[in-house]
Amino acid sequence: MTEELAKTPPTRPESSLSTAGGSKALPPAQLAGRARKRRRIERGVVLGSQITIALLVVAGMFALNAAAGKLIMPKPTDVLNQSIKMWADGTMIKALGQSVTVIGLGFLLSASTGILFGILLGGFRFLGRVFDPFVNAMNSTPGAAFIPLIIVWFGLYTEAKVVVVWNAAMFPILINTAAGIANSNKDLTEMARAFGAKRLTLFWKVMVPDALPSILSGLRIGAAIATVGTVISELTMAQSGLGGLLAAAGNRFQMDKYFAVVIVLMALGTSITALLRFAEHRIARWRVSLREGS
């Protein structure tokens, strides 16, 4: 956008019209340059503040370590060394692989079933009314409450953990999808009906796209819950993955190791969020630019 503006010739042919009033309007290239400069300064200030905060946190860790010992707070350099070691000997990669498998499978399952049932319950008002109390009951119960039952039914390993994640992450996706479709814009559906859209077209071409923002926010919540659910299942069921490493390090009071795992979990959560935001940009571009424009 800015490049395009910059490429357009900045000079206009001199005309008698653009003498008095026109002198105030800046040529586009100069305007774009100003905007770019302002944005660069803003970005610099934001980044600088962020780096400062990060350094303060690290300094605080050093201070706490010096004052209270390595059980309360490991030395950041020890955490770094431990991280390098764990990445080098493959423990981290293996654990990350196990966790990502559980998150990925659980999230895919909950996304597909949540969206499918959400579309059904939101699209057919009768079904929605019948199932509403059950869906709400399931959604309001903490996912961890079902872990003992899931252990009895499915055991302790990967498939059982996937079920834990699925059960926890499906309902928010379902509820958001159903609400998005049930509350889709009546003016738009009437418009489509007036032009002769039949039920199925109305549903797939108007109501579902209209509900997309709501579905995407359901997916974002679902992804966050899937990450939490994975770690909880790894802590409480057969120890594996990053959650398993957390438990092992914590139990032995190896806080440097523990922090090395926490950092990986942070990075994992952040990249999942970033991935979903990217997907939102791709799928609902019109909406993103709508928000930025306002």
Binding site: D187, L188, E190, M191, A192, R193, A194, F195, G196, A197, T201, K205, V206, P209, D210, L212, A284, W286, R287, S289, L290, G293
Partner: protein, 279 residues
């Protein structure tokens, strides 16, 4: 006008209620629309104008009486198209995508769709904005797209529900004249709902004046002004002023007949009120 031509739309003793009969929206409405006719529905807020358009479109059914479009009960589809007060464009589709959407409902092939959509955008002067999203357009441009979308399906009947009410005076003026030119080229029947008496006289060949609670026909007036009106602005003609005075007199009668005064005052805020205060 030739009265022997088969009417395109025909309403007979139409009645419609809402909320299990608690709200009487329309009562004993009968009128015909001839092929190619431009007819306006005028009346205060809540007198059932939008409800009438919905009935003609087949979006809702009558409680009493009958509506027929080309001899059959109306079904939303190929022969009817609606322009709404707000453009009602699908925000996730581009401008050209919005027009292609209604063309796909008509079962046109992909190539035909985009070709016709672009042609229609050209007709309303928005070809350069084909790839833009609706929120990138001004209100007047969006309304133009709404008009292009309705014209794209080549309807026999164009239903318009206060299409220019939300626009500024200048845009409204331009779009009115564009609509008249479009109509003189294609000669589909137009049922045009408006609050604006001047607009109704300016555009239409006949005006159906409605009174509220329940919505009934007050009077049907023929507008005999020279055509084409986008070339010769009729607003300076004595016939125009006469017609205008007549319609306002009817509306003042409505007030005297006991229809709620404040409602009418709110529904017709146009220069009539000014005239009075000027006196």
């Amino acid at each position: 006008m030739d009265k022997t031509i088969q009417p395109l739309i025909s309403l007979r003793n139409v009645g419609k209620s809402f909320k299990d009969g608690q709200v009487r929206a329309l009562d004993n409405i009968s009128f015909d629309v001839r092929p190619g006719e431009f007819i306006s529905l005028v009346g205060p807020s809540g007198c059932g104008k939008t409800t009438l358009l919905r009935l003609i479109n087949g979006l809702i059914g009558v409680d009493e009486g009958s509506v027929s479009v080309m001899g059959a009960p109306p079904v939303p589809g190929p022969d009817l198209a609606m322009v709404f007060q707000s453009a009602r464009l699908l925000p996730w589709l581009t401008v050209v995508g919005n027009i292609e959407f209604v063309l796909s409902l008509r079962g046109l092939s992909r190539g035909e769709r985009s070709q016709r959509a672009l042609a229609l955008l050209g007709a309303v002067g928005l070809r350069d904005f084909a790839g833009a999203y609706p929120h990138e357009l001004s209100g007047g441009m969006q309304q133009r797209v709404g008009l292009a979308r309705a014209l794209a399906v080549e309807p026999k009947v164009l239903l318009m529900d206060e299409p220019f009410a939300a626009l500024d005076a200048m845009t409204r003026e331009v779009l009115r004249s564009e609509l008249l030119q479009m109509w003189s080229r294609r000669r589909m029947a137009i049922v045009f709902v408006t609050h604006d008496i001047d607009e109704a006289i300016l555009l239409s060949q006949r005006i159906v004046l409605l009174r509220p609670r329940p919505g009934r026909i007050d009077e049907i007036v023929d507008v005999d002004l020279p055509e084409p009106r986008w070339k010769h602005d009729p607003r300076t003609l004595p016939a125009f002023a006469e017609m205008r005075a007549h319609l306002w007199a009817r509306i003042h009668d409505m007030v005297r007949d006991g229809a709620e005064l404040e409602e009418l005052a709110g529904a017709f805020p146009t220069d009539d009120g000014l005239e009075k205060s000027d006196l």
